[in-house]
Symmetry: C2
Subunit: 315 residues, 2 copies
C-alpha cells in the first residue's frame, strides 16, 4: 500500500506533518509505504534538527506548495507543482493508493473533484465528522460543510454513503441512520427535511430510523449516522468545538471530555470521490497528523471507495 | 400590572405552575397582580396539600385545558374555554398586560398569532433563547424554531427584533448582531446567509458585526445577538441541551455549567406579537415557572412590544 501525505499542508507544517509521519511510521506495518510530498530540504532540516529516524519515510520533492490562506481556485490552477496537486495526480495515476493533506481545505476539495473526480452516480461528494458519544462510541455526521445548500436526493445519498462508511471504517453493523431535524414526527422540519423524510421512509438502501434532534447528538442510543445539509452539519461540529473550548477555559478536567479535543482528530475522507482522499484539520498537531495517516490507511484497507463504486454502478 | 399564567400548561402542571407562582409572588412587588388561569378546584387542592400561602394569587376558573400532546390546530379551535385561549383573549382585551404558559407550544404560537396578532410590518414573529457565555453574560439567539424556512428579509428583521430585545430586556447597549454562518468571510454560507449578509451589510437599523460561527456561540466576545433561521437555531439550542445532559450523565460538577441547565430557564417572549406573550419550556419545574413569570414581568415593564410597534410603524 502506498500512502501519500502532503507535508507542506497545515498551520504547523512541515514540523507537525513530519512529526506525524514519524509517529505513524511506528504504528504502521511494513506493507505500508509512506511517501512524504513536499520540500526535500525542509524535510531534511526537520528530520536532522529533531533527530528523527527517517527510516521508512520517502520524500517526493517539489518546491511549490499552496498556502493556507490562498484563494483555492487561483492557487490550485496557478501552482502546477504544488505538493497537494502532485499528491492528487499521483493518486489519480495510481502511483498512490491514498492521499491525505491538512492543507488548504478549499483547494483539497476542488482538487479532489477536478483531478480525482466524483464516483459516477454520486450527485455530491461530502465530508463527515465523528462525534464522540456517551457510550464511548462515535456517531458519524454528514455533510459537515461541503454542500451548504442541499436537496432531498443528495441527503438521501448521504444516507447510503454514511451507512457504508460507518460499517466499513467504524465497524458498526447495520448502522442506524437518523435525519437531523427539529422534531421527531415526520411532519416536523423545514422543506428540505420534510421532503427528505418522505424519500427515506421505508428505504431498503439503509437502516433509516427517522428523525433525530440536537439533543440526541451525543447519546449514542438513537442513531449511528446522522444526516444533514452541510450548513447545519458545519454549525453542529463547530458548536462542539466551542463547547470543548469553553470546558478547557473553565478548567474542567475530565478524561471523557478529552475525546472532544478536535486538535487530535485525524481527518475525514471525502466520501464519493473515486479514490481515497482524506482532509485533515488545519490546526493539526503531530498526533492529529498521525491519526490522519492511520485513518487514510483504514480507508484504503477497507476498500471504501471500491464499495461505493460497486454500489452506485449497480443502481 | 396584571400578569396572567396558564396554570394547566406544562409537563408537571398544575403542581409546578402553582409552585412557580408562589415562588414568583415572593419576588414580585405589590404592583404586580398575578392571575392564575385554570381549574379552581385543582388550584385549591395544590395550595391546601402543599400548605402554600395563597395570598396575592387569584385563580380565574375554567375547566378546559389543552394537553401537551394534542394537535395544536384542533385543540385550539375545539376547546373554546381552554386556560390558554382564555389567557390570550384576556390579553387581547387588555384585561391582562402579559400572559405566559409552559403548555403546548404549537397551540401557544398559533393562539398568539390568531388571537393577539402580529405587529403590522413584522413579516414573521419569532422566538429566542439566551445562551450563557464564558463572560457570565448571555448571547441572544433567534429564531430558535418558529420559522424553519426563512427568507433574507425575515432574518434582517430578526436583527431589529433581537437588537431591541437585547437592549431592553438584557440591558446590552448597542448590541453587536452577528449572522450565524459557516465562515467569517461574506461570500461564505448557503444561499440564505449569503443573501442576508448583503442586506445586513452597512445597515443603520442595528449594529451588524458580520458572520459568526458555531465556535463563537459561547465566547461572548463577538456578538450579543446571533441571527439564524429557526431550523438552525433549534438544532443549536437542542445541541446545548444534549451537551449539558452529557455533562450531568458524566458527573461533571461545575457551578459555571449549571447555567446551562435548561430546566431552570424562564421562557421566551414571542417577538413581534402585539402584546407580551411568553412561552415556557414544557419540562419546566417550579423554578423555571418562577423565572418565566419574572421574565414576563420584565417584558411588560420594559415596554418591549410598544417599542417594536413604534419601530415598525415608523418604517
Amino acid at each position: 500500500m502506498r500512502l501519500g501525505i502532503d507535508i507542506m499542508g497545515g498551520d504547523f507544517a512541515p514540523e507537525s506533518t513530519i512529526l506525524g509521519a514519524v509517529l505513524a511510521r511506528r504504528e504502521l506495518s511494513d506493507e505500508v509505504e509512506l511517501l512524504l510530498i513536499g520540500d526535500q530540504e525542509k524535510f531534511n532540516d526537520v528530520i536532522g534538527r529533531e533527530g528523527y529516524d527517517p527510516g521508512g519515510l520517502t520524500c517526493i520533492h517539489t518546491d511549490q506548495h499552496i498556502e493556507m490562506g490562498e484563494n483555492p481556485v487561483r492557487a490550485f490552477s496557478g501552482k502546477q507543482n504544488s505538493s497537494m496537486r502532485l499528491g492528487l495526480k499521483m493518486l489519480k495515476s495510481e502511483e498512490l493508493d491514498g492521499f491525505a493533506s491538512a492543507g488548504n481545505t478549499g483547494a483539497m476539495l476542488l482538487g479532489a473533484s477536478r483531478i480525482v473526480n466524483a464516483i459516477p452516480g454520486v450527485i455530491r461528494p461530502c465530508i463527515t465528522a465523528s462525534i464522540p458519544d456517551e457510550n464511548e462510541g462515535y456517531t458519524i455526521i454528514l455533510d459537515v460543510g461541503l454542500n451548504p445548500d442541499s436537496r432531498p436526493d443528495v441527503l438521501y445519498q448521504y444516507g447510503i454513503l454514511g451507512s457504508i462508511y460507518a460499517e466499513l471504517v467504524y465497524n458498526i453493523k447495520n448502522p442506524r441512520v437518523g435525519l437531523l431535524n427539529i422534531g421527531e414526527e415526520e411532519e416536523k422540519g423545514n422543506l428540505l427535511t420534510r421532503a427528505t423524510f418522505q424519500i427515506m421512509k421505508g428505504t431498503k438502501d439503509f437502516n433509516f430510523i427517522g428523525n433525530v434532534e440536537g439533543t440526541d447528538l451525543f447519546s449514542g442510543n438513537k442513531a449511528d449516522v446522522i444526516i444533514c445539509d452541510g450548513f447545519v452539519g458545519n454549525v453542529v461540529i463547530k458548536e462542539i468545538e466551542g463547547f470543548y473550548k469553553m470546558l478547557r477555559n473553565k478548567n474542567v478536567q475530565d478524561e471523557f471530555f478529552n475525546r472532544f479535543n478536535f486538535e487530535n482528530y485525524g481527518g475525514t475522507a471525502i466520501l464519493g470521490i473515486l479514490r481515497p482522499v482524506v482532509i485533515g484539520h488545519g490546526i493539526s498537531n503531530g498526533t492529529a497528523i498521525k491519526n490522519m495517516i492511520l485513518h487514510t490507511r483504514d480507508v484504503i484497507e477497507t476498500n471504501l471507495t471500491e464499495k461505493f463504486k460497486t454500489y452506485f454502478n449497480n443502481e
